[in-house]
């Protein structure tokens, strides 16, 4: 149990630090050793949000789902253009049920990125309230 918690802590720490360092390197567009060290120190020193820690597996899975949703988003945009989707409805999409802020963020991002669905919020059971556009049935 303890080992699993520390694995989660290491994964979350590594992701946050790597993300901050990446942004720093892109902003400065300088990969010199000195700049790297400054970026790494900044990434470690800046305050961190306290949130429930997700398992590394779930984090990777959510990240992968976000990557897969990018081509899907373009496919949906083209479909919307070819065939107008005029019907609106509220549905519910199952989420992982994780309490981790990062996983919830990634899931909301994945749902909202695709143009046919917009997440409106999370329900108590971990699913998402989703506004969806659907095609009119042929008359």
């Amino acid at each position: 149990m303890n080992r699993r918690l520390s694995a989660r802590r290491v994964a979350s720490w590594g992701l946050t630090t790597g993300f901050r360092l990446g942004i720093w390197l892109l902003l400065t567009s300088n990969v010199g050793r000195f700049n790297m060290v400054v970026g790494l120190i900044l990434a470690m020193v800046l305050p961190r949000a306290r949130s429930r820690l997700a398992s590394p597996g779930l984090l990777l899975h959510s990240l992968w789902a976000v990557l897969l949703s990018i081509p899907q988003a373009y496919a949906e945009a083209v479909t919307m253009t070819i065939r107008p989707h005029r019907l609106e409805r509220l549905t519910s999409l199952k989420g992982s049920g994780s309490q981790s802020a990062l996983v919830v963020f990634l899931e909301v991002f994945r749902i909202t990125l695709t143009p046919l669905t917009i997440a409106l919020g999370q329900r108590a059971d971990g699913s998402y309230l989703v506004h969806e556009l659907v095609e009119e049935p042929p008359t």
Partner: protein
């Protein structure tokens, strides 16, 4: 600059502009607030991403700035879409915890 990069970046920029036109056109119509948000996700997020990708092909030396722009555009546009949807729900659609919402 080779012919290929010109053609590829031209295609990306044109398709991005097309997405922008397609996505912003419904804003002028009478569809509902949330339906307009769906269109905006086509224009704002996907169209802008294509335009920045086109610029990236055109000016590969500027990749740090352009990839930062691409990243921020995609994240912020999507998140603003969610925030606007979330705020609209408070007024129009009550959160139905546990119950299946009616269509």
């Amino acid at each position: 600059m080779t012919m290929l990069t010109t053609v590829v970046s031209g295609l990306l920029l044109t398709s991005g502009l097309m997405f922008w036109l397609i996505g912003t056109w419904p804003l002028l119509g009478r569809s509902s607030y949330l339906a307009k948000l769906h269109g905006l996700s086509v224009a704002d997020t996907l169209g802008s991403a294509l335009i920045v990708l086109g610029l990236l092909v055109l000016q590969p030396a500027e990749w740090p700035v352009l990839s930062l722009a691409l990243f921020s555009l995609v994240i912020w546009n999507t998140l603003f879409g969610y925030v606007l949807g979330f705020c609209s729900r408070r007024r129009t659609v009550p959160m139905m915890d546990g119950a299946e919402p009616s269509p």
